[in-house]
Subunit: 261 residues, 2 copies
DNA sequence: CCTCTGCAAATTGTCGACACTCGACACAGG
DNA sequence: CCTGTGTCGAGTGTCGACAATTTGCAGAGG
C-alpha cells in the first residue's frame, strides 16, 4: 500500500535526519494535528495509521503514547486514541498560564538581551506591522509567535522554554481567526512596540507588565464570548454519528512548516 | 516466588484498578525514580527491566517512553535510557517557574477558596508546625506539599495544575535535606502562616506576593551555594548495596515467570 | 607503546501474530 | 413496544523474534 507518506521534517539543528521511525511518526502526527488537518475528535486507529504510513503498529503506538503524554491526543485504555479538544475554558486556562510564564520570561530576559536580539525583536515587530497591513494573517501569526518565543528563549531558562513550547503547542491549533482577526492586529503591533520600548529602556518590570496585559487581551475576549465556541475550528459534535469518521488515509501536504525555535 | 515486583500503587481514584500493564510499569518506575531508589545516571536496560518485572519488552518500552516524555529519563536514540539528572541550574530554573505558577495559582485561588478549604490549609500548616517540632522531615514535606498543592488545585485551572504537578514531579527527587533542614522549617511554617493570614483576609495580591517570596527562599540558597552539588542526589540510603553506576538489573529475581498474572 | 581497524557481542528498533477486552447488534422475554 | 442478555466483530494490549546499529575489544601496523 501507500508506504512512506512522510513529508520531510525541516529541522536544521545541525544533526542529520537520524531519527528513529517512531520519532518520525510522532512528528508527522504532531504536524498534522497542529495544522488542524486532524481535527479534534478524530479517532486515530493504530492499524489504520500503521497501514497508511507503511509501518507496523509498534512505532505508531509509541508515537501515539508520546502524543498523549503531550496532551495532544487522549487515549482511553481500551478504546483507542482521539485527538483531544480544548474547551473554551481550557483555552482560557492556558492563556492564564501563558501569561504567567511569559511574564516571568520577560523579567528574566530583559537584563540578558543582547543588542542583536533586541534588533531581531524589532524586526519581528516590523514584519508584523507589514503583515497586518497586508492582511496576511498566517505570516502575522508566525512573526507574532517568533516575537514571543524569542523572549522566552532569551530568558535562559530552558525549563520555562520547554513548558511554554508545550503550552503554545496545545493552543496553537486554535487559530482565533474571527477573534483577533479584525482590528486587533494593529493593536497587537502597538502593544508589541510598547513592550519593545520598555525592553530597550531596560525596564524589565514594565516590559513584563505590558506583556501580561498584552496576553490578557484575547483572554478578556474569551471571557466575554465565553461558552460560545467562537474559537474552535472544526466541530466535533454529533457524538452519535451512524458511523465513525476515520482518517485511514492521510496525505502529506508537503507543507514544511517548521515549528522549531 | 511471586515475581511480580510491583508494590502497591496508592491511588484510590474510586475506580477499580483497571490499569493496563504498561501503566503499572510506568507507575512502578516512576515511584522508584522519585523515591531515589534509581539514582540519576542509572542505565535502564529494557531487557533487564522486562525480565525483572516479568513482562515483555513492549510495556517496558512504552513506560520508558512515557517517562522520557515526562522528563524523568532521557533516551538516546540507540543507546538506551538513563535516569535523567537535574543540574543545579535546572533546579533553579524549575524554582523560578514554580514561583510564577504558584503565584498565579494563589491569585486565582484566593477568591475561590471555600471556608472548608481554608481550614484544610490551616490544618496543613498546623501539622507542619508539629512535624517541624518533632523533626519529622518526611511528614513535614508531605504537609508542605499538600499545602502548596491545595492552593494550586483550588485555582480551578486544570492546565496550571497539570503543569505544576509535572514540575514538582521533576523537582521532587531532590530532597534538600541539608539545605532546608536546619532552622528553615520553622521559618517556612511562619511564612505559610503569613500566607494563610493574607488568604483569610481575602488579599489575593498579598498572598501571591508572600507565596512568591516564600518560594524564592530555597532559590536564593541555591544561588548562594551555586555550582556546588549541595542538594543533588539522594541521601545515603541503602549503602549496603554494591556500588552500581550502571546497574541494568534492579531485582535479582532469577526465577522464571511463575504464576500467571 | 600508541593507534587504527575489523570483528563480535549486546542492546535497541521494528515487525507480525495471538489473546483479551470492549462496543454494538440482534433476539428473546416481559 | 421496551428491555435484558447473548453473541459477533473490531481493536487494542501483549508477546516473542528478527534485523540494524552501536560499543567494546583484540590484533596488526606505525
Amino acid at each position: 500500500m501507500g508506504n512512506s507518506a512522510f513529508a520531510m521534517d525541516g529541522e536544521a539543528t545541525g544533526k542529520l535526519e537520524n531519527l528513529t521511525l517512531w520519532e518520525r511518526v510522532h512528528r508527522h502526527l504532531r504536524e498534522e494535528i497542529l495544522a488542524n488537518r486532524l481535527p479534534p475528535g478524530t479517532v486515530l486507529g493504530e492499524v489504520a495509521l500503521a497501514e497508511s504510513l507503511g509501518v507496523s503498529r509498534g512505532p505508531v503506538r509509541e508515537a501515539l503514547g508520546r502524543l498523549a503524554a503531550e496532551g495532544l491526543v487522549t487515549v482511553r485504555p481500551r478504546r483507542g486514541a482521539v485527538v483531544s479538544a480544548l474547551s473554551a475554558g481550557e483555552f482560557r486556562e492556558a492563556y492564564q498560564v501563558r501569561e504567567a510564564l511569559e511574564t516571568l520570561a520577560a523579567r528574566l530576559a530583559v537584563p540578558r538581551l543582547a543588542p542583536a536580539e533586541v534588533e531581531r525583536l524589532q524586526a519581528f515587530v516590523d514584519e508584523q506591522a507589514k503583515r497586518a497591513e497586508e492582511g496576511n494573517v498566517e505570516r502575522f501569526f508566525q512573526a507574532n509567535q517568533a516575537f514571543h518565543e524569542l523572549i522566552v528563549s532569551a530568558s535562559g531558562n530552558r525549563t520555562l522554554q520547554e513548558m511554554h513550547r508545550q503550552l503554545v503547542g496545545h493552543m496553537g491549533r486554535y487559530r482565533m481567526r474571527s477573534l483577533v482577526l479584525r482590528g486587533t492586529l494593529k493593536r497587537s503591533v502597538g502593544e508589541h512596540r510598547a513592550i519593545l520600548r520598555a525592553i530597550r529602556a531596560g525596564d524589565a518590570e514594565k516590559a513584563a507588565h505590558l506583556l501580561g496585559e498584552h496576553i490578557r487581551v484575547p483572554q478578556r475576549r474569551l471571557e466575554e464570548a465565553s461558552d460560545e465556541e467562537v474559537v474552535l475550528t472544526s466541530a466535533e459534535d454529533a457524538p452519535h454519528l451512524p458511523r465513525k469518521r476515520f482518517v485511514p488515509s492521510l496525505r502529506s501536504g508537503g507543507s514544511h512548516e517548521g515549528d522549531g525555535s
